[in-house]
């Protein structure tokens, strides 16, 4: 149940809509890069884009191929060193939304970007934390966008917890607790899962057009609760798709 090219466009437009009204977003590589770009061109021109490379308030003249692209730097409002970026801006609590991709997200919103299988003898070595563990701990909330929706990608519990949910953090009650809500929203090719309660489970909030609720529940690795007001995701506007294809990802780096 992986996505085709049209899926990536759809995901990016849905993800962009989630950024309405958000002030400051910390964007990861891939679909989040597309989504923040699209949101800034459409529903949220005042969105302040922060990248893991230290670029703050970027105004790119072309789509960034990665978070350290020179187009993000030229014309940006600031470029911070890593101590200020992660220490002051992120851990200091100034990021409203962290926008990430993930290999696995589980029932309580813990994220795995490290290993598939037993980490002592991993079947697949994934890229690891990067800034994810730092972002999930300290951004006010997290949006995850995933290219797959099946029980391997959405298991009851992640194979390895790179970036913990506040639910897991709370089990270590002797520790100073993270400040953020953790994962609030997970956008998949089938629908949108939300976690309204900081210490609760993900639940099904939206299904995409043509997908029924039972399909989403069956494709999820735990008994997925369905929100009472579950709704259908509005389809992308033609203008959003045109922007993505003709102006943002013209080289088809992420729209694949």
């Amino acid at each position: 149940m992986t996505t085709a090219g049209a899926g990536a466009e759809f995901l990016a437009t849905v993800a962009a809509r989630e950024l309405a009204g958000v002030r400051r977003v910390f964007a990861g590589v891939g679909l989040p890069t597309l989504a923040v770009d699209l949101a800034k061109r459409t529903i949220n021109p005042d969105l302040e884009m922060v990248y893991e490379s230290g670029v703050v308030g970027s105004h790119p003249e072309a789509m960034a191929e990665g978070i350290a692209d020179s187009v993000l730097v030229s014309g940006a409002e600031a470029v911070l060193g890593m101590d200020a970026l992660f220490g002051f801006l992120l851990q200091g609590g100034l990021i409203d939304v962290g926008f990430l991709g993930a290999a696995q997200v589980d029932r309580v919103g813990s994220i795995n970007t490290s290993f598939i299988g037993d980490w002592r003898k991993p079947r697949v070595r994934l890229p690891g934390s990067g800034g994810a563990a730092d972002i999930v701990a300290s951004a006010q909330e997290i949006i995850v966008v995933m290219r797959r929706h099946d029980p391997d990608a959405l298991p009851a519990e992640v194979d390895f917890c790179t970036s913990p949910s506040p639910v897991r953090a709370r089990e270590r009650e002797d520790f100073i607790q993270p400040t953020g809500h953790g994962v609030r929203t997970v956008i998949t090719p089938l629908g949108i899962l939300r976690r309204p309660d900081r210490y609760g489970d993900l639940e099904l909030a939206q299904v995409h057009p043509g997908v029924d609720v039972e399909t989403v529940v069956a494709a999820t690795g735990w008994p997925l609760r369905v929100a009472e007001d579950v709704s259908e995701t509005p389809p992308p506007r033609d203008e959003d798709v045109r922007l993505l294809r003709d102006e943002i990802d013209t080289v088809r780096l992420y729209l694949r």
Binding site: V29, E52, S53, G54, V55, E65, G66, I67, A68, D69, S70, V73, S74, G75, V79, G81, M82, D83, F86, G87, L90, Q91, S110, S114, W119, P122, R123, V124, R125, L126, P127, G128, S129, G130, G131, A132, A133, D134, A137, S138, F160, C161, T162, S163, P164, S165, P166, V167, R168, A169, R170, E171, R172, D174, F175, I176, Q177, P178, T179, L253
Partner: protein
């Protein structure tokens, strides 16, 4: 520190500061990655290195394939936009052709390690790991009770490389090093190291440096070797000088997937070239021209001077 004698060739600088078994930090966050220095390490056949890099990137895949690395200290294990580093994955997933020791943090964990190393602190605290499996994976991530009564907090140990290598836009002969654009953790990594080797696009008169002292990220007192290496960050980029060779990053994926192809690439492009100038010549003027950037100068500013 004496200012004389810091100018040298890359061959000499690597021979002097990178021995077998050395702990080497090669920093540069997607920008100013010291590729030329990494290639020279390969040419000199160094073994058993501990390589420290927040984002290993293609340079690490190449150092691994060339047999230079025993241990990797890092916080990300892919090449940014261009996907997996397959040599790294073969070493980790299948110990092919030999095991790789990995010491793994998050990005901020690596930054904190350099900060502790630079400031001679026994550890540095951060809030990122409560409930994470990372402390289980890496027993050097530990925790202490806050002496101010708020609870426990995770800490990481200082990282003090034997040598930190960085690439910069410009430096003077004394070693004053100026960078702009994305500067990552270079300042911390430099101050944390026993020795610092700088490669630079341009060696400029000291007056150029002193016309804009805030631009100096690493002062001469921290620098041991200054090497003039134009194009020294290729295939990554140098802000204002040349752009990233994104085509090469895409080409690396199929090369990296095939162990024979990686080794053939290293034979041809690194061991088969005498130095970085020869590597660039082999790359060709046409490919280089495609990486040119249009000028976008900063507005002039004035530091002022006291009137006589």
């Amino acid at each position: 520190m004496a200012q004389a004698g810091k100018r040298m060739s890359l061959t000499e600088a690597v021979a002097r500061f990178v021995a077998d078994g050395t702990t080497v930090a090669l920093e540069g966050f997607g920008h100013l990655i010291p590729f030329a220095a990494g290639h020279e390490i390969i040419r000199q056949g160094r073994r058993d290195l501990t390589v420290c890099r927040m984002t290993p990137d293609i340079i690490t895949d190449q150092l691994l394939a060339a047999g230079c690395v025993r241990r990797l200290v890092a916080s990300f294990f892919a090449s940014g936009s261009a996907g997996s580093l397959y040599e790294l994955r073969r070493r980790v997933e299948h110990s092919d052709p030999e095991p790789l020791e990995v010491e793994e943090y998050s990005h901020y964990g690596m930054v904190c390690r350099y900060q502790a190393g630079a400031a001679k602190l026994p550890f540095f605290p951060l809030r990122s790991y409560v409930g994470s499996d990372l402390p289980e994976l890496n027993s050097r991530i530990r925790s202490v009770e806050s002496p101010y009564g708020e609870g426990r907090i995770h800490v990481v140990p200082p990282l003090n490389p034997d040598v930190t290598i960085v690439h910069a836009q410009r430096a003077d002969a004394a070693g004053n090093t100026q960078m702009w654009g994305i500067t990552g953790a270079q300042q911390q990594a430099a101050y944390a190291a026993e020795h610092v080797l700088v490669t630079a696009e341009e060696i400029v008169p000291s007056g150029v440096i002193r016309s804009d002292p805030n631009r100096t990220l690493i002062p001469a007192h921290a620098v041991d070797a200054v090497v003039h290496v134009p194009g020294g960050a290729h295939p990554s980029y140098t802000q204002g000088y040349y752009d990233r060779d994104s085509a090469f990053y895409r080409e690396w994926t199929p090369i990296s997937r095939d162990p024979e192809a990686v080794r053939a690439w290293i034979e041809e492009w690194v061991r088969g070239t005498e130095d970085h100038a020869a590597y660039l010549a082999k790359l060709g003027a046409e490919r280089w021209a495609a990486l040119e950037v249009a000028p976008a100068p900063a507005a002039p500013l004035s530091y002022g001077r006291r009137k006589a």
